[in-house]
């Protein structure tokens, strides 16, 4: 295993040897060797489902490996719980942050301190937090309630938490998922500062560009196995791609025919619409936009700035307090969700199992849920399952999907679940499709299939509202892009008129300028 010259003199703190772990139906880690040196930034790269999180969760004591051993500073150790890991000064920041919203920053951090006395002094802890936060530029107010913080700030709390519990190996699981491009740069600066101070950082990610910008050593996983281990100077994008995906390099580009005619009358029109968000939800303020037939409008924004609320608003889940909404020429706000769907509104959410399907029902039953009335007979006393079955088969055929229609939906894979939702929503030619993070967490094949389906729906006349945090996806597919920041539209352009950095800055409300 190649190591940079400067590191030959460094100690290997952690050596995970031959780690194997399987879950029902999937071999997550297959005899993986992984090592961490004393002070480095080590990227663990791979696409979704490659086994990166699992491996690190084993190191953190959240899971137990089926076989293999962990060697810490030369001696084999057993890590059976996070408590053990913390004692070895290993800390992990999870993707879904492990903070308690109802408690303050101080309390959340105090929770993780291993040397906390029985009767603890809040002020003392607050002071320690302030010291550290200034040193590493992780500015945070210790008295704030976590529920009042933005996700970027919460992440800082997580890092502070680890630092204060004296961790010296920091594992970050997809830390940049919720950050805008220049916030990512700020994070990398913090990580480098930490590395210089002697911390070892493992960054789990699937974003190649970030790996190239930040990491010193890169381990690539694919389907539970280590496919490569390089130092940055040896790594190129194409090499990493081939390590991540094997011989086949997927073509994520879909060639676009840009010259399309738009009709004048909009399918959906929002005029100065405002909503009031409760609790953690964002309020939308004076949103005006139009979507026309055969048009894809992409909505960009950092998680939590109102995109989800905008999608829910159009769907009818949230009511506006000001402004008007029109579907065609009809006033939207008077209509129930059922009515909206009857008029051709479709919705593809980011978590199909949690938001659009009933897991224990069969795929066929789930298929009918958006239009149960159209399949009822005898005033609701019976359902016409035969016709539903026929309709579903036709949809599947048209889209090129395949799965058993009577199986319970919970047996489907993530990609197939989204396919089921797409088949359902796209059947019966919808007028307007709200696609909210439709490809999030999907494997490459499913992502391609989803995008293809949306594009062909567009070609058949639907208007599409595409909400996504994948800027590449938005640029690739949209006819127009709007940027949401704090519930307001911060910008609206055609993709050709702008670029990722400009959009990224609008997403975070800062002045527009180009960053090196």
């Amino acid at each position: 295993m190649p190591i940079p010259a400067s590191q030959e003199l460094q100690e290997k703190i952690v050596f995970m040897k031959g780690i194997t772990k399987s879950f029902p139906g999937v071999l997550a880690n297959d005899a993986i060797d992984f090592s961490i040196y004393k002070s480095e930034i080590h990227a663990l790269l791979g696409e979704n489902g490659a086994g990166k999180s699992t491996l690190m969760k084993i190191l953190y004591g959240f899971y137990g490996a089926d076989s293999g051993e962990i060697i810490y500073e030369g001696k084999p150790v057993k890590i059976n719980s996070p408590q053990d890991a913390l004692r070895l000064r290993i800390g992990m920041v999870f993707q879904d942050l492990n903070l308690i919203p109802a408690m303050t920053v101080t309390e959340n951090i105090a929770l993780f301190l291993t040397d906390l006395p029985f009767i603890y002094k809040r002020q003392e802890i607050r002071d320690r937090i302030l010291d550290l936060s200034i040193r590493y530029q992780l500015e945070i107010d210790p008295k704030a309630l976590v529920s009042d913080l933005s996700i970027g700030q919460q992440q800082k709390v997580e890092i502070l938490k680890l630092l204060m519990s004296k961790a010296r190996i920091l594992i970050l699981d997809e830390p940049t998922r919720v950050l805008a491009p220049h916030e990512v740069k700020a994070l990398f600066k913090i990580l480098k500062r930490l590395r210089d101070d002697g911390f070892a950082i493992v960054m789990i990610t699937h974003k190649m560009k970030e790996v190239m910008a930040c990491a010193e050593r890169i381990t690539v996983l694919r389907r539970g196995q280590v496919t490569g281990n390089l130092i940055r100077s040896d790594a190129t994008e194409s090499k990493l791609i081939s390590l991540m995906f094997g011989k086949q390099i997927p073509n994520l580009e879909i060639i676009e025919d840009i010259s399309r005619e738009f009709t004048d009358t909009p399918l959906l029109e929002l005029v100065e619409v405002s909503t009031v968000g409760e609790g953690a939800t964002t309020s939308l303020s004076k949103i005006s936009l139009k979507i026309r037939s055969k048009e894809i409008v992409g909505v960009a924004g950092v998680s939590g700035n109102g995109q989800k609320e905008l999608g829910d608003l159009v769907l009818g889940m949230i009511q506006p307090v000001l402004g008007k909404m029109f579907l065609g020429s009809q006033d939207l706000s008077k209509l129930s969700i059922r009515e909206l769907r009857r008029r051709g509104l479709a919705f593809i959410p980011e978590h199909p199992l949690a938001m659009a399907l009933v897991s224990y029902m069969s795929n066929l039953e789930n298929f009918t849920l958006t239009r149960t009335k159209s399949y009822e007979r005898n005033f609701g006393l019976k359902m016409d399952w035969e016709k539903a079955g026929v309709d579903l088969q036709e949809c599947l055929k048209a889209l090129g999907f395949e799965f058993p229609i009577y199986a319970p939906s919970k047996t489907l894979s993530g990609g197939n679940l989204q396919r089921l939702v797409i088949a359902r929503e796209l059947s019966h030619q919808p007028n307007l499709i709200v696609a909210s993070y439709p490809t999030q967490g999907l494997d490459v094949q499913s992502t391609l299939a989803a995008r293809k389906a949306l594009l062909s729906a567009r070609d058949m006349g639907s208007g599409i509202f595409l909400i996504s945090e994948d800027l590449e996806e938005i640029f690739m597919m949209s006819d127009r892009i709007i940027v949401l920041y704090q519930g307001k539209i911060a910008g609206s352009f055609k993709p050709s008129q702008t670029d990722i950095y400009e959009v990224g800055h609008l997403m975070t409300g800062s002045e527009v300028f180009y960053v090196e």
Partner: protein, 306 residues
């Protein structure tokens, strides 16, 4: 309405509210850790009957109180086994516990029905004893009453100023986060249940040994449910529970006052006031959309290494 009658209401409220306060404190502790026990009625019945039977047998009321507290703790531990180890549904288990309490307490107390006991002795604080007998007799309280408010403060201090309390609250909000911090959520919940059960036992003991000085089946008459409502009413905060308990028992005492002043309102309707109040207050908060409940209340914890 003379001063005497107002003080009379206050005194009456304190007497009947003490058991309520202890039980509410107990339920608050384990609800803060995420466990709701609808069978509190059953726990209290078993504690009350055990404590009373012991006192009747041995003539030692303080020991009887201790027995009641221990009984409450044990019953809650049994409940804990069901909902923590066996991961049973908390609501159903609580109701099953209630039925168990009906039956077990009837058996335990069977031989003590109608017996007279040495109740907990009542004492006046020095400067009250010097007042006119009319007044001082109203405020002769037993030890449990004197300790009630301090107990509330202790619970508050425990929950908010100690490491254990921090961990306990974390378990109630997000047991996975608590686990990730190196704690054992299951063990903490058991501890909460034990302490909570003992407090409930103290409350029940006060009812049978100090207040009514008797035992009869179903004597708690719904106090267990009132306590559960009170926990919510006081937003899971031990200090607010003091006010809540006083308010609830005050309503009952107030009714006696009204009757003695010649105002004729059905005692039954007056009895409903505490519940209606709780409902109203819940609706009002609900309207402001502030949910103060521990986020993990009622959820089963499936954690640990997988």
């Amino acid at each position: 309405m003379s001063l005497l009658s107002i003080l009379g209401v206050l005194s009456s409220a304190i007497f009947s509210g003490t058991s309520l306060l202890y039980s509410t404190l107990g339920e608050t502790i384990h609800q803060r850790s995420g466990i709701v026990n609808l069978g509190l009625e059953g726990v209290m019945l078993i504690s009350a009957s055990s404590g009373f039977a012991f006192t009747a047998l041995t003539g030692r009321p303080y020991l009887g109180v201790l027995v009641a507290a221990i009984a409450g703790g044990i019953v809650n531990l049994i409940f804990g086994y069901l909902v923590i180890n066996r991961k049973a549904n908390q609501l159903a288990s609580g109701l099953a516990l209630m039925f168990f309490g009906f039956g077990a307490s009837a058996l335990i107390g069977k031989s003590s029905v109608g017996m007279k006991i040495y109740p907990l002795p009542r004492l006046s604080l020095p400067w009250i004893a010097n007042l006119d007998v009319l007044y001082s007799s109203l405020f002769k309280f037993d030890l449990l009453i004197y300790l009630a408010i301090p107990a509330a403060f202790c619970v508050w201090w425990l929950l908010f100023k100690t490491r254990w309390g921090l961990g306990l609250r974390a378990v109630g909000e997000n047991a996975d986060a608590a686990y990730a911090s190196g704690r054992n959520p299951m063990r903490i919940r058991f501890q909460a249940l034990l302490l909570g059960g003992m407090l409930a036992g103290l409350g029940a003991a006060h009812l049978s040994i100090a207040y009514t000085m008797s035992w009869s089946e179903h004597m708690t008459a719904g106090r267990g449910f009132i306590a559960v409502a009170l926990v919510i009413f006081s937003k899971w905060h031990p200090l607010r529970a003091i006010g809540g308990a006083l308010l609830f028992s005050g309503a009952v005492a107030f009714q006696l006052l009204l009757q003695s002043s010649g105002v004729k309102v059905s005692p039954f309707l007056l009895d409903t006031i505490p519940y209606i109040l709780t409902l109203l207050i819940l609706i009002i908060w609900g309207g402001t959309r502030k949910n103060a409940a521990p986020a993990g209340l009622g959820r089963v914890y499936y954690g640990g290494q997988k």
